[in-house]
Symmetry: C2
Subunit: 344 residues, 2 copies
């Protein structure tokens, strides 16, 4: 059954799909300007002339070519009770549609829930994207770090991802060395990597629109005791989290399993983010592995498992794998070693 | 007067700034998760622990550290009549705030209008970003095109932008060769450039967060008559559009001046987009040069002037400069030649 048909089967009213990623997922059309109305017995795709030719070829979807400002013309084209995506539609667009007499019903995360469970083709695409990232980490590990700027190492990683066949990076490569690693989301800067510190490298690429995501923490010689211990704790937490991943597992419990290791080591306060997130057409998507997201993992979910410890003034350690959730546990797509790799 | 103070001077009620770009413009904080409430006599910045340390250092702004989901806690922290950004705030966030008893007033484009007029520091930053792009075009013009794939040429351009000091590309580099150039927004693919066609290259980079944007159409040997003529028409239209740019000019009239040249040549239908757009912290921002946007250009606006002609089955031609609007006309930031450059 096609994605569209599966969506139609669960709709109570027509759904106006505003998320461009959701439009792509349902129709295959990658576009910067499109809206899809999924109705019980069909679908209408609204887009402008730039995408009209490609849109015309989509099976089971009727093209409605509009001017650039699609939402300005939608009130004339739609009527009745229509569901919409409340986390995507802006207030302005919502009020335009509402003023046009459409009865709007918020329906949250419908397509996102479908996207969270990947089909065989999507899994193969993500396997390829992850294999490229994994190989890029292996190659980067052979190269010199000390004396190089974070931003140059980030560019080198980006170049490796490109050379190995990635379409583009799935997010800006993170290289956080020494004390800059105390923040989980630092931007690679002019700092030069020095001996005796950790270097967090977080990177991934896209293949066919699908993302990969991997983090390793490299070591430039003998570490201060605090970071050495942090590395051991994070590695153990990561392996514990991985071991808890399987179809049927509670996502909060998976987060909790890894977090308990960090907390027992007295470092709970230094692990200030969730354990992981889903990965697909977006680098962050459902399901989420954290203390708040209530869900049960399903075979076909693709998630990261990435505990981290960030020590003020000292640096950080994060280890992240990308895995497919199966009935038997995780299929790890990023097998590059998690032992501390000393780089030059 | 600081940006915050200028904004405060024009507010009727506190403004909740949800656009992360607007937050960056007003506070200097580049973040993936922040909300700024600008009040008559102060400002409160809501963000999570990842950005708290940097946020604490911002002058005239009080930090309120929250958990990740800022909008979930805002109803407890805000009250009374508050303006918001209706083109940015999602329906879900709007309804969360509204349910919390806040009286919400849509105020559209307030900060965007400030951002449209750049100050001296911003102009210098954009000049640097444009100089890098300009030099990258000059270098790319020396390299072989024929026999190379679009995607490899795009990567080469991206690498040049990086080597020359760009922080990152300001959008995915466009390389559209031969018939793929019939669409103004094609994605570089596996097609190999052949002799006797046009190759549209559209690229820019960021410096200090600010974008540059430039397009040139290269030629790989003798063109079919239709494309040759299209090149001449686009070049003339581009120069006519440029000549109309000055402080006080009506943005529709600038678009109209260039468009008239294309229309008089009988190619009006082949020029299906606006003449240009503002450029700054975003690659597309106010003001817009098209037939619909009603505005008068102001000294300090930074806009593109980029007519194009797209011929089905044959290819496309687009020429784009980035310019600063001054009282005396345009300051062109991308002086690389607009004559047809034949590449190997």
């Amino acid at each position: 059954m096609s994605r569209l048909a599966r969506l139609q089967a669960q709709l109570e009213e027509p759904l106006l799909v505003s998320s461009l990623v959701n439009v792509r997922y349902l129709t295959g059309l990658a576009s910067s300007n499109a809206v899809l109305l999924v109705e019980p017995d069909g679908a209408r795709l609204f887009t402008d002339f730039r995408y009209a030719e490609r849109a015309r070829e989509i099976p089971d979807v009727a093209l409605v070519e509009t001017r650039r400002d699609i939402y300005a013309v939608l009130p004339e084209l739609l009527e009745g009770r229509i569901a919409f995506e409340p986390t995507v539609l802006t207030y302005e667009r919502w009020s335009l549609l509402a003023a046009g007499g459409i009865e709007l019903v918020p329906r949250r995360g419908v397509v996102e829930a479908m996207r969270a469970v990947k089909d065989a083709g999507e899994l193969n695409t993500i396997r390829r994207a992850a294999a490229i990232a994994n190989e890029a980490f292996a190659r980067l590990a052979e190269e010199p770090f000390v004396g190089h700027r974070e931003r140059d190492l980030a560019w080198r990683m980006q170049s490796l991802l490109h050379e190995l066949g990635g379409e583009k990076e799935s997010f800006d490569v993170i290289v956080a060395s020494g004390p800059t690693g105390e923040s989980p989301h630092s931007v690679p800067g002019d700092r030069t990597v020095e001996p005796g510190e950790t270097v967090i490298v977080d990177a991934g690429c896209r293949v066919g629109g699908y993302c990969s995501d991997c983090t390793r923490t490299f070591v430039t010689g003998e570490l201060p005791a605090g970071l050495q211990r942090a590395y051991e704790v994070v590695k153990q937490a990561q392996e514990t989290g991985l071991a808890a991943v399987r179809a049927g597992a509670d996502s909060k419990a998976v987060d909790g399993a890894a977090r308990a290791v960090v907390e027992e080591a007295g470092l709970g306060d230094a692990f200030g983010h969730g354990l992981g997130h889903g990965v697909g057409l977006e680098i962050h998507e459902a399901p989420w592995l954290n203390a708040e997201w209530p869900s049960v993992l399903t075979a076909g979910n693709v998630v990261t498992v990435e505990p981290g410890v960030y020590l003020h003034g000292l640096g950080g350690v994060r280890i992240e794998d990308l895995v497919i959730v199966t009935d038997d546990g995780p299929e790890v797509l990023t097998p590059f070693t998690k032992e501390p790799v000393t780089v030059g």
